[in-house]
Symmetry: C2
DNA sequence: CCTTCTAGGCAAGGGGCCTGACTAGAATGG
DNA sequence: CCATTCTAGTCAGGCCCCTTGCCTAGAAGG
């Protein structure tokens, strides 16, 4: 849409500051005044920038009044959506990074696919902004290419096989980007504390893990990296078994579902669980070599101390830490990504 | 050294073709003739490009003869080195990607650190080109920041704690880049068959594994990703234990060393080994989600079929394949990297 | 010695940026 | 009412780097 480097700088300046005069744009970007003026002219013509009608105050010897320019109100918004067993949250954000609207919708328990899809539709329908695209966080494995949720054999599967791309496609002009909630939480963590190499282990009803290598979340070929239910670890009695089976053997899975029974786990805190998760952290240490393993989730955080004691004994110890972003971490990550992409899309190729 | 985009294009063209006239440069790069001529003038002045003295043939109506230009002979060479228990290989390459000299030096068995360092010095001393930098492959864990080899507790350690940066530093003008042999083999594999997400499992005297995610080898924070000796897997009797211990329990480690006894392993081919490596592949499948797992190494390739049968049964099966690059794979990867870096360094920042 | 034909160079032009100088224009104070 | 004050915005000129179009260089064959 826009090709000149100057125009990009002007747009980025207007994303940081809601209104600027041409002279302010010139000093802010380091571009000369004539060039900034020319860029504003081009961008106004393209409809990306508008004269707000506001003028600089003027006053005793304050010189000629200037016109304030800002991004056109219709440059578009993006949608950040979180789909979790607790419910669906949809947030609309603008190019400044403001959340301009928010809608929530509950999901019955246990979550049924139709329920979830319906709640998603309800949350998004509550407002109707022109949305350029959506970023979706879902609390289940996500196929990287189709954006659909995928059930893996005998692994926790909380939302059912829904297709966020299909549900949101009608209400969104552009593409719909779907990914696993833990990946988005790791993205939020990465932006909060800029570490290049870490893993995020999320221990809740589901088991999740995200991997950040060389400063980016690594999703793997199908987008299923970090789906650790079948990782071989040490189970009760020193037997080797897939991680998820440990919870089955200890009676810590909610009957009739694939979910882990968090309340019971927190009541009993069996050492076998700590050992089993220790095996996961050892696998991360050997395969990924993270600087840090971030622990989150409803039972991960409470067990952090015990896990740290366990991993300190291992031949390749690794530092454990609670997540820095505690408030809606997945939505925060999705929101940050939506903002980045919205801005890039406005600036164009 | 060179900043203009034009100059970069001209240099890259001269790296692809050993000699070109200004007119050929213009058509090859898509740049106009005057600009190409100007670039040649700048680059000649900077000493990067020289008039070879050769002239185009001319002939019946063949027009004015042109002057051939090529990279200056002293733009520099790079060194690709492989350090393995079998011996040391040093290859000098020029900016065209030709191997211009090669030296080998044996290492006694078992390899002692002094031996290895001495062989390395010998191999490199055999020629003396002006070397801009070196890329080193070492058959042991490499610390990403220091370039030193690192022994991990109870893991195979074949070369001893040598410091390639110190040994090569004197003979090389620029930096010395050291990495694990399996990472370089994966790099060679990546260039041969452009896959974005795969893992390379190397089963030989040492155990190694390289991870390619989103088209790059991922080394982890310390450079120790893929050092899988302590991964928890299924050992004899279904017991959970670190991968390396399986070999100890089965009497497959060479007495007095940390290495695996490949001959004995190939004689007996115990199913426990297949199961244990199956656990490694399962861990890769869950944590990394590769499109493919490449199997290499002296006992990896022969056991490929058995391993494939094992992984087919797993809840997240993954395709196994023998390595495409069989001839000195680590050196091939180091060579390719050396070429890329040499070229970038000539072109400048 | 003329013809043939391409390598290389020159001239002019254009895009996008700069600097420096000029103009616009509103509020204030006499 | 008009001069003053002061900055926003614009105009003019110039630089850099690229382009196209055209001209010259120059070797070999007829």
């Amino acid at each position: 849409m826009v090709r000149s480097l100057t125009d990009e700088q002007v747009l980025r300046a207007l994303m940081r500051h809601p209104r600027l005069t041409r002279a302010e744009l010139a000093t802010e970007t380091g571009i000369s005044k004539p060039t900034a003026g020319e860029s504003v002219r081009r961008l106004s013509e393209a409809g990306l920038v508008v004269d707000t009608g506001e003028r600089t105050p003027g006053g005793r010897g304050m010189g000629r009044v200037g016109s304030y320019y800002s991004l056109a109100p219709d440059v578009g918004t993006a949608l950040a959506v979180s789909i979790a067993p607790e419910g669906v949250v949809a947030e609309y954000i603008n190019a400044y990074g403001d959340s301009i609207a928010r809608a929530e919708a509950g999901v019955g328990r246990p979550a049924r696919p139709d329920d979830v899809a319906e709640a998603l539709g309800r949350a998004v329908a509550e407002f109707s902004f022109p949305v350029r695209f959506a970023v979706v966080s879902a609390a289940d494995p996500v196929d990287r290419h189709t954006g659909r949720l995928r059930q893996l054999p005998d692994a926790p599967f909380l939302l059912g096989e829904i297709d966020p791309v299909a549900v949101l496609g009608e209400r969104v002009d552009g593409p719909v980007l779907v990914d696993n909630d833990v990946n988005w939480a790791a993205e939020a963590e990465r932006k909060a504390a800029p570490l290049d190499d870490f893993a995020y282990v999320f221990l809740d009803e589901g088991l999740g893990c995200a991997i950040v290598s060389d400063g980016e979340v690594r999703r793997g070929h199908h987008g299923l990296s970090g789906e650790v239910a079948h990782l071989i670890t040490e189970g009760p009695g020193g037997r080797a078994m897939p991680l998820i089976e440990v919870f089955g053997e200890l009676g810590l899975r909610r009957p009739g579902t694939t979910a882990i029974d968090v309340e019971r786990l927190l009541d009993t805190r069996p050492p076998e669980v700590v050992t089993a998760v220790g095996g996961l952290i050892a696998a991360l240490a050997t395969l990924i070599d993270p600087e840090l393993v971030v622990i989150g989730g409803r039972w991960g955080t409470p067990l952090l101390g015990a896990l740290a004691d366990e991993t300190d004994q291992q031949p390749r110890p690794v530092r454990l830490q609670a997540a820095a972003v505690q408030q809606e971490p997945s939505l925060a990550g999705a929101r940050a990504e939506a903002l980045d992409r919205l801005r890039s899309q406005i600036i164009g190729p």
